[in-house]
């Protein structure tokens, strides 16, 4: 029993260390990311003051980096829910130190992604016209518009993923409350909702987490499907595709896992959590990443092969611009980053190390951002009437906003790790207590299984 207690204390002190003593790495991260974010905020102010003309968008390229960033970040947000929820539902034990890292990514990536449909508006101050409320205009939003679907899907997902992040946080909040004083104690106390760890509370919490894990999966899938329908519902060449829904969802999970691996590797280094985030986690997530890389390649291949085989002039204009035209360098860079390098790196066991999965993940994040860009811009530069073909080049404002999203994300994430344990303490301990008795019960299980099959 005393041994148990000492492990308990060690886990507490290890996992709460980032909260109490974050170290210089944390401060450096916060300062740098905050500066990047502030630069982007300045660019945004400049844009609001002068109009969207400060972007590189034009006629016919009415959407560009704004929607690229939107799709990219909503995609990243699929790390959390899908990984954490699927692993929870299937009872994968190794998930325990991973879930909260993932769930936090979801909430922050979603907040950043959801910002773009608002700031990219010509008149962003009227974004609330998307809300269905009785108003002096006597109008509902147009429910036939995929943008209205977006509005509801993203808000549902944001609300759901905040709840899904918050619920498993409650026992840890109570622990934090017991370890803090003054104002912080009040803060954690209020958030922990009077958690005292009774049998009834545990029972309810576990039931709630189980329900949320199941509910959040279809919500996550629907969100990125609807994002893809912003394109697929139009009649633009290479957008009007029936498989955009699953294609986007697969790409989202793909980039999400990559972001998760990167976040975990950084957290592991900065907070010295080598004992908790072990090679097995990177190995398992690496295998998932490999699966998604193969699925991504399959979808991409299918999408482009059918366009090429159909050989319609309008589709071919877009197709050629990507395969061999002005967007070819970016297109092939995206294929190299998403498939050609990561696939062998993740498939060969010797290379599937922490460093190996990190390199693969970094490439995939870049490659998937390019892929989003390449879905949007080449189609828009090639309207059906060839007289109106155009070009696009981003301005410094769009580049600053794009960089700013990364700064903003890192900043939010860093603040989160300072306020809350990034590895779920109670879940981790629960895992240890399950592991221990399991050894004794395993012989019992075997005959029971045999009995069932005979």
């Amino acid at each position: 029993m005393s041994e148990r207690r000492s492990t308990d204390t060690k886990i507490n002190s290890d996992l709460l260390k980032p909260v109490h003593h974050p170290g210089w790495g944390w401060y450096a991260t916060v300062v740098v990311s905050a500066l990047v974010m502030l630069a982007a905020a300045g660019a945004l102010g400049y844009q609001f003051r002068n109009g969207l003309g400060v972007w590189g968008i034009n006629r016919p390229v009415f959407w560009a980096l704004d929607i690229t960033n939107f799709v990219f970040w909503i995609g990243i947000s699929h790390a959390g829910t899908l990984i954490s929820a699927i692993l929870r539902v299937t009872g994968a034990e190794w998930r325990r130190p991973v879930t909260r890292c993932a769930e936090a990514i979801t909430v922050f990536a979603l907040m950043i992604g959801a910002m773009f449909p608002i700031i990219h508006l010509g008149r962003p101050w009227f974004f609330y016209w998307m809300v269905p409320y009785p108003n002096e205009r006597g109008l509902w939003p147009n429910f036939r518009s995929p943008l209205a679907w977006d509005f509801f899907a993203i808000n549902t997902y944001l609300l759901g993923s905040i709840i899904y992040l918050y619920l498993p946080l409650i026992p840890d909040l109570a622990l934090l409350k017991s370890k803090s004083r003054g104002l912080l104690r009040k803060f954690y106390g209020a958030l922990s909702l009077g958690w005292s760890g009774t049998e009834l509370q545990w029972d309810r919490l576990e039931r709630a987490v189980r329900v949320m894990a199941v509910v959040i999966i279809p919500v996550a899938v629907s969100v990125h499907t609807i994002v893809s329908w912003d394109f697929a519902m139009t009649i633009r060449p290479m957008w009007h595709s029936t498989m955009f829904g699953p294609y986007f969802v697969a790409g989202a999970i793909f980039s999400g896992i990559a972001a998760l691996i990167l976040a975990m590797a950084i957290i592991r280094r900065v907070f010295h959590l080598e004992q908790y985030l072990r090679p097995i986690h990177f190995n398992n997530l690496g295998l998932l990443l490999l699966t998604m890389s193969l699925i991504w390649f399959y979808f991409t291949f299918g999408e482009y092969l059918t366009a090429w085989y159909g050989n319609e002039p309008e589709e071919m204009a877009v197709f050629n611009s990507k395969i061999s035209g002005s967007y070819a360098p970016l297109f092939w860079a995206s294929v190299i980053c998403c498939f050609i390098i990561p696939a062998p790196l993740l498939a060969i066991k010797r290379l599937r190390t922490i460093k190996g999965t990190m390199i693969a993940s970094a490439l995939i994040v870049v490659g998937m951002w390019l892929e989003r860009f390449l879905i949007i811009v080449p189609t828009l530069t090639h309207p059906k009437l060839t007289f109106n073909w155009g070009t696009y080049a981003p301005t410094w404002v769009e580049v600053a906003l794009t960089a700013g999203t990364f700064g903003y994300f890192v900043l939010l994430y860093a603040i989160f790790t300072r306020l809350f344990p990034i590895i779920a303490i109670w879940e981790y301990k629960e895992g240890l207590s399950i592991e221990a008795p399991q050894k004794d019960t395993s012989p019992e299980i075997t005959p029971r299984l045999e009995g069932a099959t005979s």
Binding site: G53, R59, W63, G122, M130, L139, N142, R144, M233
Partner: protein, 235 residues
């Protein structure tokens, strides 16, 4: 097709005879003056920010010296099944019972989704606040609202002239007839290549011309049912 009117109101349509079009662009200038279209300057125009509710698309056929140029005035086609309409989340663009594809500037929040789904690329965005090089600002048409930055705009078939024509017919206690409504581009066309009228009225000129064996519609295979009909002898 478009001729099957859904309401008793006039169904406005335009006929453009490509065999008569010389590509002089007088219609483009007339439209600009009539509809308070801002000037953006050469730099912005080079970036693709110029606004022309009607434009002349020129297509070159053949090799020098045997070259043939085709001019095609392209404006909002006022599609009966307009792809821009369902995608607008705030009903800024919608279909009127006169078959017009209307744009309500005050409702527009500027998602630009309509422009992305327009196969004719005839929708325009105000990237900046509108401005006119002096002394053009003194020539603004008081019957047409000036659009602020951040909203979409496009050809209205000169809705202000349509209203005037309809009111005149009403005052005289009769249905609208040919000549009541003449949009600025049609009025200006130097070769009389453009016609405008009520296509639901089988006696109107546009109605008769739309049945010509030279008649076709732009990107007809999309099923958008445009209200602009092109006449072209074909070759």
């Amino acid at each position: 097709m478009t001729e099957e009117a859904k309401s008793k109101r006039p169904q406005w349509a335009m006929v453009i005879d490509l065999d008569r079009c010389t590509g002089c662009e007088a219609c483009v200038v007339a439209c600009r003056v009539e509809n308070n279209i801002p000037t953006v300057g050469p730099e912005e125009a080079a970036k693709g920010r110029s606004i022309n509710w009607i434009r002349i698309e020129s297509y070159f056929e053949g090799e020098y010296p045997d070259v043939k140029v085709k001019f095609m005035p392209v404006l909002c086609q006022h599609c009966e099944e307009a792809p821009c309409e369902p995608v607008c989340p705030v009903y800024a663009t919608y279909h009127t019972d006169e078959g017009l594809n209307a744009q309500v500037y005050n409702r527009c929040v500027g998602t630009r989704y309509c422009a992305n789904n327009c196969p004719y690329t005839v929708r325009f965005f105000n990237f900046f606040d509108p401005k006119w090089d002096a002394p053009l600002e003194k020539a603004l048409n008081p019957e047409v609202s000036v659009r602020t930055r951040g909203v979409m705009e496009k050809c209205t078939f000169c809705i202000q002239r349509i209203r005037k024509g309809e009111e005149k017919a009403k005052d005289e206690g009769r249905e609208v007839r040919d000549g009541d409504v003449v949009p600025a581009c049609v009025q200006t066309c130097t070769t009389k290549a453009m016609y405008f009228g009520n296509i639901a009225d089988s006696e109107s000129e546009v109605s008769k011309l739309s049945k010509s064996n030279r008649a076709s519609r732009l990107l007809e295979d999309l099923g958008t049912k445009p209200k602009v009909i092109y006449l072209n002898k074909g070759d």
